[in-house]
């Protein structure tokens, strides 16, 4: 099963390599990983998408918690969270396809962030289902390049508080 792990870590050199090394050294999967500083510049936030049965996920969480540079580990699975990923898609757009590419972008509330006589670069934000949907629609036009950020996630606040 897929799990979204959100980590608060010390913003020091070598931390990413420690985390990556833990996953490779113990045979755990990383499907996606993103990392950036938080509002506190001494702390970075990492989002890791991983898979495994309950026993494996329990070990991953415990092993991460044990690492000296990791301040907090949260498993978002089963909780109410907002997840977003950014994709930049460079798509072939010539003649009538230029109109079609723009139409698809509008449907997904995506933005054209760069254009050339033969291409558009489209920026889209959403969860992986939305990104896969737009990619599938753009594919017939000819995708020249696709870059995805990997997901980031944040817990929703309790509305009754």
């Amino acid at each position: 099963m897929t799990h979204i792990l959100s980590l608060l870590v010390e913003n020091k050199f070598g931390v990413l390599s420690r985390v990556a090394g833990l996953f490779s050294g113990r045979g755990f999967n990383i499907e996606a990983l993103s990392v950036a500083p938080t509002q506190d510049p001494s702390i970075s936030q990492m989002t890791i998408v991983t898979t495994g049965d309950d026993r494996v996920i329990e070990q991953i969480t415990k092993q991460l918690n044990k690492m000296i540079d990791i301040i907090k580990v949260s498993d978002f699975s089963g909780q109410d969270y907002v997840l977003r990923e950014v994709a930049l898609i460079k798509v072939s757009a010539k003649g009538a396809d230029r109109e079609e590419a723009l139409r698809i972008a509008t449907i997904f509330r995506a933005k054209v962030v760069d254009s050339s006589p033969t291409t558009y670069t489209i920026e889209v934000t959403g969860d992986d289902r939305k990104i896969e949907a737009i990619v599938n629609l753009l594919r017939p036009l000819g995708i020249k390049e696709l870059v995805r950020s990997g997901p980031i996630a944040i817990l929703r606040e309790d509305k009754n508080k």
Binding site: V9, E10, G14, S17, R18, G21, G25, R55, E58, Q59, K62, Q63, N65, K66, M67, I68, D69, I70, I71
Partner: protein, 578 residues
Amino acid sequence: MKLTGAEIFVESLKKEGVNIIFGYPGGVILPIFDVLYHEKEIRLILPRHEQAAVHMADGYARSTGKVGVALATSGPGATNTVTGIATAFMDSIPLVVFTGQVPTPMIGVDAFQEADIVGITRPCTKYNYLVKNTADLPYIIKEAFYIASKGRPGPVVVDLPRDVLANKADFVYPETVSLRSYNPTYVGNRWQIKKAADAIVKSKKPVIYAGGGVILSNAHQELKELAEFTNIPVTLTLMGLGAFPGDHPLFLGMLGMHGTYPANMSVHNSDLIIAIGARFDDRVTGRVKDFAPSAKIIHIDIDPTSIRKSVHVDIPIVGDVRLVLIDLLKELRNIQEKNEVIEEARKQWFKQIKEWQKEHPLWYEYDEEVIKPQFVIEKIYELTKGDAIIATEVGQNQMWTAQFYKFIKPRTWLTSGGLGTMGYGFPAALGAQAAFPNKLVFDIAGDGSIQMNIQELATAVIERLNVKVAILNNSCLGMVRQWQELFYGERYSGVDLGDVPDFVKLAEAYGAVGFRATRPSEVEPILKEAIKIDKPVFMDFRIDKMEKVFPMVPAGAAINEMILLEKKKKTEKMKIVK
């Protein structure tokens, strides 16, 4: 006043109470050796190889309970420490290993004797540092000792670039350490402890399975109290030997691959396993699927990752073993009720254990003509009365010692359990001897293992570390040969070591003393003489080449499927007992 990085290093170590460093010099680490030249409070012991320096620090740490310190230069000096560090990591031994590094502006340019030791040791250290500023040294050293010794102990590497050692900074040593990201749980959850106490009282066939964590947290007294108060038999892991008296009536012996028959059968048939500071290693559990099929498991450990890593646990308790045992005993003393059904069942359980003990005790066939290795170990035990510090190498020598030497006290047993490092024992024994100059320290070795760090004989002689090395010499790699005999159709590939070197002459060449025994009657006189002599001694015991370690749980079998040496037969015969 401003001090150089090298001076700050030495002053910081003094603040940490370090009085012995095991260190080997080289280019970039010279500033430190220069300061040590005038240093009176710290003894510098010069090994002949950096790997041995780390094993010495490890033997020092295991025997004293303090943090061991080793020092090496950059590049090859640093990479030579890796086996020593990995050994300590697998056995949770507190070490701080300082390595030299090329000057910071040269890091990453493939400079002479440059190695990325922080990258290399990342997976085999508890934590590691590359120091970038001289001013950071005091707090990094403070943190390194803190991390190495607190929670589940382990080795920490601190990499010291030459310019960091040469530059000056103010020296203020921090009083305390506070790490927002490292806060081990020491006190066990009260509710879980209550549940554990309840399960213990209700169990009909309980057994205590304790490991190295008991020694690391100094909980041997509490373990004894628990066993005696609840009247529950105790088995120990290889790492746990000495955590419970080896001559205690409740002691079942070691468990696992070469564990005793009663220990393995008790664990396999128990209805409650109380695991204390042990981690269900594959050498202990055998085939996990069939491990203790009807047992409930209580697992007490300071490291949450050890819990449910390989076996299912019913009552996990995260905390310092000693503190948890104190709380558990309190809880147990509050339970007054008596249950006749349970009492009767416990009687039956002890009766069953007695039978197992009678059926298949630890045993070897004594021979008048040929020296049996177990006989040598029994003699060492008799002559030292269990009061010596005993190191071993890895292989048959290690297993025979674990089986036939009765460890009475904690911190008298130095062996590489997790990593299984041949060449560990001799330098570890030297480290322990440096810590306790007046104690008797033995290394029980094989002729293969001893040659993996034999150069340390020079260190022993020069530093007057009078370790007694008993080589159980069968002219081959005995444990590998045993596997080849039992599981590889007697194809003895790559195990014959021949009759070289002549260990007696070799000892003499180094200025130590050498003895050789070929007959059982010579064993005791030689041991007595070796103990008397005020020098390091090599004893070359020519043992029975065919002798094997039994019982044995073959790889992949369950722990109740042991190969045993059958008794009262002239010819050796093996039997699978199910």
